[in-house]
């Protein structure tokens, strides 16, 4: 595919029921009311010269290049700032306009370097293009006057440079930073001729800039440009694909030169991101070709042996033969598999199929186990389906936004920008979080209420909010009567109205003033459309599922379900965590969330797969590890997942893996789990495969192969090789055939085909006969389960309690620049922002312990201890500390415990009782880790490989 250049309409799309018809250059044009003349012209195929206008920011009217003439009106208005009106007769070209435009270009060019031939933007520069469009042939002013050609270049940002001498001060970058990203890091400093773009008076790296790339994308010249373009030149072809980072699922154009990626540019038609991006998706793709990539299959007899590179055939046959040996010796249930939320739907589907059909058991699980499994449980039981209720665009209609246990500006930055835009428009904000996350106070956004609850008291808070709704007469009785199970509702109403659930009664436990809870509840219930957005601060608790149920109860009680602007919206962590769950990765259910004990469902799979299937649920990840320690589980196939680093109680995970006889890891890198593996199968990055990802809004997006798989196979092909070697044949020629099978067997995907995805760009499930083009908003007119089901949500404090020995509570999480276990982002320049995990601690707790900024501290729980640097932070509340788990060497999960959600076994990462003290050296685990890692990652020189 050639390089894709999307049309820039100059000003944003307007939506209106009122249409306006006018005439542009003699052509009748009809557009929605509010549309600019510039956009109306471009939509009619009539280009208008422009420099300061671009269609992702509002019109500015400064460059004077887009001037037009309107019959019967004086002057030459800017077409970008002039709305279309009925009957207007507009001329975009005339001798007078041409003269004026050339005059403007002369002024611009008189203060611009004339280095086009060696400029990085050569061939992709709007200033250059406009000089050609207006027919600039001379610059009468010369180049000797006062100018801006001397300022140096700011190369502080690892991914893009800022060269002020090339700046035309069009303010597109400043406006993109404000309107698109919502960070307001850039400004125009000075006035008149002295005006210049500034990153707040410092360089980009040290500014408030979050490196989202919106300014770079908006820049019409080479002032802000990707360093990769400067180094490699412009790409010559584009591949539209879906980002492999968070659950927002942004659409990107991968621009390539041959098989080398030059840059990733957010795709305007992407329905999840609308042309926006974050630092990870936009810039942190270099891991795909990092020198640490393993490109040859490897085997070893013992985990202390060096790895031996072998042929694909030997590796696959060895893995298959070991799995068969283990099953013969220990039984059919002695092996299992783990699917990946980073792999495609088709790959995930094949892994669970292989486990069920070739292994002959249901021992398959996925990393959603440790993040959003409670979402699946809670929403399935209350609404009838295990997924969020809205599309992202629904936030545009929200009047009240309640963010619970999520930090979207770090973990879901592109959606956070969308949300902030709505908040700047006036939507009200409630944040329920132990920490003062950035969203609480960010430029032009201030939370109406921050409920800084103590970790572990989510359910008490949601009950208190619901108590206010019920006892103050704020229930939407009509909605409940029409849409919900009334017996269950009355049971719940009686429970929730009990005084022990009141804000006053739970204040001592939650630490949140009752008056704030009451005010927040009233705002949520009466402020118009109210939407809940939540993250792992909800799910990763011993009552994670109860909390999800509690949120669903609150939404139903107030009628905030089944229309735009409302809903229960999980912000999914990884790129395909929704898809991996949809595809039947859990041990108890087939694709589409149907239990394995359902005879009709099971028979449909047996008929399609031509093999008898088990009706009993299989083991969850934690159960597999327990069973391994007990000696009844001996073999594991892990595709694209790193349970040693990501799962709780690292030493228990390691012990379980070490007790197995055959661990097969399929990954890009020798990750931490590979330290315990006997077979390594080199996987493929998202750039090297075809398939689909499903984002947090149930959107099925295409992943397209941009370059051939570096190790020879796409991941779905590797699973096929293994399945075939096990004696269960799979012969798909392309992932589209796998999707066809998924559609045949899964009612919610019945209408999904690659042809449709190509045609529509993406589709949100359910996509079937009832909704052939997908379902942006669910539960309109009725719940999937029929009547919405209220469920009782008793607050039960976690057994993980602070004591004199462990007086603080640790919560763990993520930051903007790193992703999950860091396997990808740690192998990029993102380390500039976060090259080690640190412990955030409140000044009081630090002072009590004699801890200063940057001191090395020990972090100890009953599970284990680590050391890491301290960061004193008032974002924390006293008694609560926080760290990330992005760096393997830190070992954050050495400290977390095995306590988990009662319903789903999702670990309680957000509550670990700990002590923090000054330390002088690394912990024993960290010292041992270094040595163990050195031993387990050794690779013998190449012998007998392909």
């Amino acid at each position: 595919m050639a390089l894709i250049q999307e049309t820039d309409y100059g000003t944003p799309l307007r939506v209106s029921d009122t249409l306006v018809t006018l005439e542009i250059d003699g052509n009748p044009v009809t557009v929605p009311a509010g549309t600019s003349l510039m956009r109306a012209a471009v939509e009619a195929g009539i280009p208008v010269p422009k420099l300061c206008a671009t269609d992702n920011v509002e019109a500015f009217g400064s460059c004077r290049l887009c001037l037009v003439e309107v019959e019967g009106r004086r002057g030459t208005p800017a077409s970008c700032t002039t709305p279309a009106e009925p009957g207007m007769k507009v001329r975009t070209q005339s001798p007078k306009l041409a003269r004026m435009r050339r005059g403007m270009m002369e002024l611009y060019i008189s203060d611009h370097p004339l280095d086009c031939l060696t400029c990085s933007a050569n061939g992709n520069c709007e200033l250059q293009d406009m000089a050609g469009v207006v027919g600039l042939r001379e610059v009468r002013y010369g180049y000797d006057g006062e100018n801006h050609l001397k300022p140096g270049k700011d190369t502080s940002n690892p991914y893009f440079s800022f060269e002020p001498s090339k700046c035309i001060v069009c303010s597109r970058c400043v406006r993109a930073c404000e309107e698109v990203q919502g960070t307001f890091a850039l400004t125009i400093e000075g006035r008149g001729f002295a005006s210049k773009v500034s990153a707040g008076g410092t360089d980009f790296l040290n500014s408030e800039c979050v490196s989202c790339g919106a300014c770079v994308q908006a820049c019409p010249t080479a002032t802000l440009i990707e360093k990769s373009v400067t180094e490699k030149g412009q790409g010559d072809r584009s591949v539209i694909t879906t980002c492999a980072y968070c659950g927002v699922g942004c659409s990107f154009k991968a621009e390539l030169k041959g098989n080398e990626v030059v840059r990733m540019v957010p795709y305007k038609d992407g329905k999840a991101n609308h042309g926006h991006s974050c630092v990870k998706g936009r810039f942190a793709w270099g891991y795909a070709t990092h020198k640490d990539r393993i490109l040859k299959p490897m085997v070893r007899a013992k985990i202390t042996d060096p790895w031996r590179e072998v042929t694909w055939e030997e590796a696959i046959n060895h893995a298959a033969s070991e799995f068969k040996r283990i099953q013969t010796k220990y039984g059919q249930e002695s092996i299992g598999g783990i699917t990946s939320s980073r792999c495609t739907d088709e790959e995930t589907y094949l892994v669970q199929k292989m486990v069920r059909a070739a292994f002959g058991n249901n021992n398959v699980d996925t990393c959603a186990r440790v993040c959003h499994s409670p979402t699946g449980y809670g929403l399935k039981n209350t609404f009838g389906t295990s997924a969020g209720t809205q599309d992202f665009d629904s936030v545009d209609a929200a009047d009240v936004i309640m963010v619970i246990g999520a930090n979207p500006t770090d973990a879901h930055p592109v959606f956070a920008s969308h949300m902030k835009k709505r908040l700047r428009e006036g939507a009200r904000l409630i944040v329920v979080d132990p920490r003062r996350i950035d969203l609480i106070k960010t430029p032009h956004v201030k939370a109406d209420y921050h409920l800084p609850l103590r970790p572990g008291t989510n359910v008490a808070i949601i009950n208190a909010l619901a108590h206010v709704v019920v006892t103050e007469g704020l229930v939407d009785e009509g909605f409940v009567k029409e849409r919900c199970d009334l017996v269950a509702f009355e049971q719940w109403r009686k429970f929730i109205a009990e005084e022990r659930n009141s804000p006053e009664a739970v204040e001592a436990a939650t630490g949140v003033p009752a008056s704030d809870v009451r005010a927040a509840a009233r705002l949520y219930a009466t402020g118009g459309n109210a939407a809940i957005y939540y993250g792992l601060g909800v799910t990763e608790h011993s009552q994670g599922s109860t909390m999800v149920i509690g949120m669903a109860n609150l939404a139903m009680a107030t009628g905030n379900i089944g229309k735009r602007g409302v809903g229960i919206n999980p912000l999914r962590g990884q790129n395909n965590v929704q898809g991996s769950c949809d595809m039947g990765s859990f041990p108890h259910e087939f694709s589409g969330y149907r239990h394995v004990s359902d005879v009709a469902v099971r028979q449909s799979f047996e008929a399609a797969w031509q093999v008898p299937l088990q009706s009993d649920p299989g083991l969850r990840i934690s159960n597999m590890l327990d069973a391994a320690c007990d000696g009844s589980f001996k073999g594991l196939y892990v595709q694209g997942e790193d349970i040693v680093q990501s799962d709780p109680n690292t030493q228990h995970v390691a012990a379980g893996l070490a007790a197995m006889e055959c661990v097969v890891v399929q990954d890009l890198f020798l990750n931490e789990t590979a330290s315990y593996a006997h077979v390594f199968l080199p996987g493929s990055s998202f750039l090297e495969k075809d398939g689909t990802f499903i984002n947090a809004e149930r959107r099925i997006g295409m992943v397209r192969k941009a370059i051939p798989p570096m190790a020879g196979y796409e991941d779905w092909q590797i699973t096929m090789l293994l399945s075939n070697a096990l004696g269960y044949p799979m012969n798909y020629k392309h992932p589209s055939e796998i999707m066809d099978e998924i559609a045949r067997l899964t009612p919610t995907f019945a209408g999904v085909t690659y042809e449709k995805l190509e045609r529509l760009g993406s589709v949100q499930w359910p996509c079937n006969e009832k909704a052939p083009e997908g379902t942006p908003v669910m539960h309109i007119g009725g719940f999937v389960r029929g009547k919405g089901r209220f469920m009782i949500t008793e607050f039960i404090p976690t057994d993980e309690r602070t004591t004199d020995r462990f007086p603080l509570i640790l919560t763990t999480g993520r930051i903007l620049s790193q992703y999950n276990v860091g396997a990808q982002t740690r192998r990029t320049e993102n380390n500039v922002w976060h090259n080690e995990d640190v412990l955030e601690i409140h000044p009081w707790d630090a002072e009590n312990r004699g801890i200063n900024e940057g001191d090395l501290v020990s972090l100890t729980s009953r599970a284990g201890d680590i050391t890491l640097p301290a960061r004193i932070s008032e974002r924390m509340q006293p008694g609560v500390v926080y760290t990330t788990f992005h760096h393997a060497m830190t070992g954050a999960n050495v400290v977390t415990t095995e306590f988990s959600d009662w319903a789903t076994s999702c670990p309680e990462y957000k509550v670990t009782a700990v002590q923090v003290q000054l330390a002088k050296k690394l912990s024993q685990w960290q010292e041992q880790y270094r040595e163990q890692r050195r031993i387990t990652t050794q690779i013998l020189s190449q012998t007998g490989a392909d």
Partner: protein
């Protein structure tokens, strides 16, 4: 925690959730949950544990486990 302690802790967690419901509903809820989500070996383990007194288990679990069908044996080796 060892495996038995983990099992008791997890089972009691389920019971504590359903304990808010009327007793029969609660017992049925616990039984159903264990039947739906616990693997055969785990169900057999808790059945055996209850048969040996069920120390530490919530009384709803003790009742619920009595209603659990005995899991079929392990499928034949492949």
């Amino acid at each position: 925690m060892n495996t038995a302690q983990t099992m008791v802790h997890n089972a009691n967690g389920i019971a504590l959730y359903f304990a808010s419901y009327p007793r029969e509903e609660a017992i049925a809820g616990v039984t159903d949950h264990i039947q739906k989500y616990w693997e055969r070996r785990m169900r057999q383990q808790i059945i055996d544990y209850v048969a040996h007194g069920g120390a530490g288990l919530h009384e709803l679990v003790l009742e619920a486990v009595k209603r659990l069908p005995v899991p079929a044996g392990q499928p034949a080796s492949k």
